[in-house]
C-alpha cells in the first residue's frame, strides 16, 4: 500500500549516486589544487551545490515527497539566500556612503 508514494529504490541507483558523490569529491580536491584565481571558489561551490542536490533528491528522497514537503524544503533554501542577499547588500554597500561603524 505504501509502495506508490514511497517506492523502494534499487540498490544500484543508490550506489550510482554514491559513486557520483565520491567522484565529485575527488574533482573538487583536484580543482582545488589548480589555480583558477577567484574562479576556484565558484567551481568549489558549484560542485558542492551539485553534491548537496544529489543528497537531497536521492538520499533524502525529496523527489518522492508530497508537494507540501517539497515547498518547505525549497522555502528553507530561499530564506537562506534572503539572509545572504540582504546581509551582503548591507555589508558591501556601507563603504559607498561612508556610514560609520564599518
Amino acid at each position: 500500500m505504501s509502495h506508490t508514494a514511497h517506492p523502494v529504490v534499487s540498490v544500484r541507483l543508490f550506489v550510482t549516486i554514491w559513486l557520483l558523490l565520491m567522484g565529485f569529491t575527488g574533482l573538487t580536491v583536484l580543482a582545488g589544487y589548480q589555480d583558477f584565481g577567484f574562479m576556484n571558489t565558484i567551481i568549489a561551490l558549484s560542485i558542492a551545490v551539485t553534491k548537496a542536490s544529489l543528497v537531497v533528491l536521492f538520499f533524502m528522497g525529496v523527489r518522492h515527497n508530497t508537494p507540501l514537503t517539497k515547498t518547505v524544503v525549497i522555502a528553507g533554501f530561499c530564506w537562506l539566500f534572503i539572509l545572504f542577499g540582504l546581509g551582503m547588500s548591507d555589508y558591501l554597500t556601507r563603504p559607498w556612503i561612508g556610514v560609520p561603524g564599518r
Partner: protein
C-alpha cells in the same frame, strides 16, 4: 500509515529548515569576514589538512550510503540489512570524529587556537610570512565554531543512530512502519550536506594565494 510517514517527514524537514538557518547564520558570518579579510582566509586555510578533510568528506558520503541502505532494508523488511548498515553508519560517523580529533590536536600543537596563546608562527613556517594575527584568529574562531558545532551534530547523530539500532535490533521496523529510521536518516544526510559545504569553504582556499603570489 502513509499519512503518518509523510507528516513525520514534513515535521523533520521543518526542523531541518531551522537547522539550515542556524548554520546559515554561521555561513553569513563567514561570508562577511571573508569579504573583510580575504588574505586572512587564504593564510589561515593554509594550516588546514586537505587530505584529512577530503578523507572525512568521503567517510561521510559512505555513511550516507549505508544510512540510505538501512532505510531501504526496513522498506523490504530485512532486519539484518538494517542492523548491518546502521552499525556501518555509526562506525563511519565515529571515524569522522576520530579524524577530527587528530586535526584539532594538530591545531593545538601549532598554537592556532584563538586566545592568548595564538601565534602565526606555524603559518609563517608554511610560507605565509606577514599573516595578520588579528584577522587569522577570526578565521580560526569561525573554523572551530563551524566544525565544532558540526561535530556536535555528528555526536547527536551517532546517539540517534544507536537508539534506532536498538529499535531495529528489536525488530520494530516493518515495510509498513519505518518512520523513525527514515526521519533519523534525513537528519544524518543533513549533517553530511553541511560538511559538503564546510570542506571546500574552509580547507581548499589555502592551497593558493600566498603573499605576493
Amino acid at each position: 500509515m502513509e499519512q503518518q510517514l509523510e507528516a513525520s517527514i514534513l515535521g523533520m524537514w521543518i526542523f531541518l529548515v531551522t537547522e539550515i538557518m542556524f548554520f546559515g547564520g554561521l555561513f553569513m558570518a563567514y561570508l562577511v569576514y571573508r569579504t573583510m579579510y580575504p588574505q586572512a582566509w587564504l593564510d589561515g586555510s593554509a594550516a588546514l589538512d586537505v587530505p584529512l578533510g577530503a578523507l572525512n568528506t568521503a567517510v561521510l558520503i559512505c555513511s550516507s550510503l549505508t544510512m540510505v541502505l538501512s532505510v531501504r532494508a526496513a522498506q523490504v523488511g530485512s532486519r539484518r540489512g538494517q542492523i548491518v548498515n546502521l552499525i556501518l553508519t555509526i562506525l563511519f560517523g565515529t571515524t569522522f570524529l576520530v579524524v577530527k580529533y587528530f586535526e584539532y590536536a594538530a591545531k593545538f600543537e601549532h598554537h592556532l587556537i584563538p586566545g592568548p596563546h595564538f601565534s602565526v608562527h606555524y603559518l609563517e613556517e608554511l610560507g605565509r610570512t606577514g599573516a595578520d594575527p588579528f584577522s587569522t584568529q577570526l578565521f580560526f574562531s569561525l573554523y572551530f565554531i563551524m566544525t565544532g558545532i558540526h561535530a556536535a551534530h555528528m555526536v547527536v547523530g551517532i546517539g540517534l543512530m544507536s537508539v534506532i539500532l536498538l529499535m531495529a535490533w528489536r525488530g520494530r521496523f516493518t515495510p509498513d512502519y519505518y518512520g523513525p529510521i527514515e526521519v533519523s536518516g534525513l537528519y544524518w544526510h543533513f549533517v553530511d550536506i553541511v560538511w559538503i559545504f564546510l570542506f571546500p569553504l574552509l580547507y581548499l582556499l589555502g592551497l593558493h594565494g600566498g603573499h605576493g603570489a
